[in-house]
């Protein structure tokens, strides 16, 4: 395996750290202690399992999570939210789309999986797994570990290049 091939493979399986595409490090939304407004067509409560079904939406600060279904809310807010189906996580800076997402409010981390698309302005990054810190606004995109065709890919528009 040549050095170039190894580099490409490493990139393909790489854990590509993206401290926001534009390099911004500002807090995009709010802390995990901020109130969470939620809405859905249906709320199911079974024991301690709480599930939002149908156009589920959570809004914390300026961050918004939308999905067909969100489960795992609890009273303290230190929840492990599991979102499924047409997941969108929208911050003032970025829009993240995926098939599934797990948002752990305790450590301000949301992990989006599936066909992940991260957009910031005109910049687009795709991968199979994205880890986003809602407090710092940093994102980390990973490609598929083995499939060379599912590498992390992106289009960057340097500033001033319209």
């Amino acid at each position: 395996m040549t050095k170039t091939t190894m580099t490409a493979a490493l990139l393909a399986i790489a854990l590509v750290a993206v401290p926001t595409l534009g390099g911004a490090q500002s807090v995009p939304g709010a802390s995990s202690r901020a109130p969470i407004m939620w809405g859905a067509d249906l709320l199911e409560v079974e024991g301690n399992t709480l599930t939002l079904v149908g156009n589920a939406e959570l809004l914390q600060g300026q961050n918004r999570l939308r999905a067909d279904r969100v489960a795992g809310l609890n009273q303290t807010g230190d929840s492990r939210l599991e979102a499924a189906g047409n997941v969108y996580f929208v911050t003032p800076e970025q829009t993240i789309r995926g098939d599934r997402a797990v948002y752990t409010t305790g450590n301000d981390t949301i992990v989006v999986t599936g066909d992940v698309i991260l957009t910031q302005g005109q910049n687009v990054l795709t991968g199979s797994r994205l880890t986003y810190n809602t407090r710092t606004g940093s994102a980390r995109v990973e490609g598929a570990p083995t499939a060379a065709g599912n590498r992390v890919q992106g289009v960057f528009y340097p500033e001033g290049n319209d």
Binding site: D41, V45, E46, G47, Q75, D78
Partner: protein, 218 residues
């Protein structure tokens, strides 16, 4: 019959005989007139008596029926009423009220200050109170409102809603006139709700563009 007086002349005896015959004729005619009169009067009297008898019998029948119905129609009032039962899963419930009045027309109980406790004997009891309500024993439903307060032990929700319908056979509580509450998801508002399994499962639904909404304050 007296013997003829030998001293009387035949003319005198004839005159006495005519007088006697005339008197007998007058008596006969008087008796005949009484008989004629009675022939007319007695049937009328008989008819009056018979009619009166029939009327009295009918009257008494109607009166006694009305009295019996009136007795049945009387409202039954209960103070501090308490109805015990269990649903089809064997979970016990109790329906209490400050007062209960049985409606004679429908057989339903009108409840004043009802208090329902579901899942008695279970770990978490659901308690529902309201200003008033109706208990239909036949339909096995309790419809209460307004000012319904639901304290659901199973889910931890405290809900306020204008109306709640409790199916005592299944233990399912439903409401479709809006609901607000606090609980594991902070505050919430919804268009309708269903509490199943005596509080173990709850569904809140929106209506059209009015989604189920709430706020969590971590």
């Amino acid at each position: 019959m007296t013997a003829p007086d030998p001293t009387q002349t035949p003319e005198a005896r004839d005159s006495q005989d005519e007088a006697r015959v005339a008197a007998a004729g007058r008596r006969w005619r008087q008796r005949s007139r009484r008989v004629q009169m009675l022939r007319r009067v007695l049937p009328v009297v008989i008819l009056l008596i018979a009619g009166g008898t029939v009327t009295w019998v009918v009257y008494r029948s109607v009166i006694s029926g009305a009295e019996r119905k009136a007795g049945q129609d009387q409202e039954i009032r209960l103070d501090r009423a308490m109805f015990h039962g269990q649903d089809d899963q064997g979970r016990r419930f109790v329906i209490g009220a400050e007062g209960a009045v049985r409606d004679p027309d429908t057989g339903r109980f009108r409840l004043v200050g009802p208090v329902l406790r579901l899942n008695l004997g279970g770990r978490k009891v659901t308690e529902i109170t309201a200003d008033g309500g109706t208990y239909d024993q036949v339909a096995k439903t309790v419809t209460i409102g307004p000012n319904v307060r639901i304290s659901d032990g199973g889910s931890g929700f405290s809900l306020a809603t204008p109306e709640a319908v409790v199916d005592t056979s299944t233990g399912i509580v439903t409401g479709s006139k809006g609901v607000q509450g606090t609980g594991p998801l902070g505050t919430l508002s919804a268009s309708s709700y269903v509490i199943r399994d005596q509080g173990e499962r709850i569904e809140f639904r929106g209506s059209g563009d009015n989604k189920v909404r709430g706020t969590i304050n971590p």
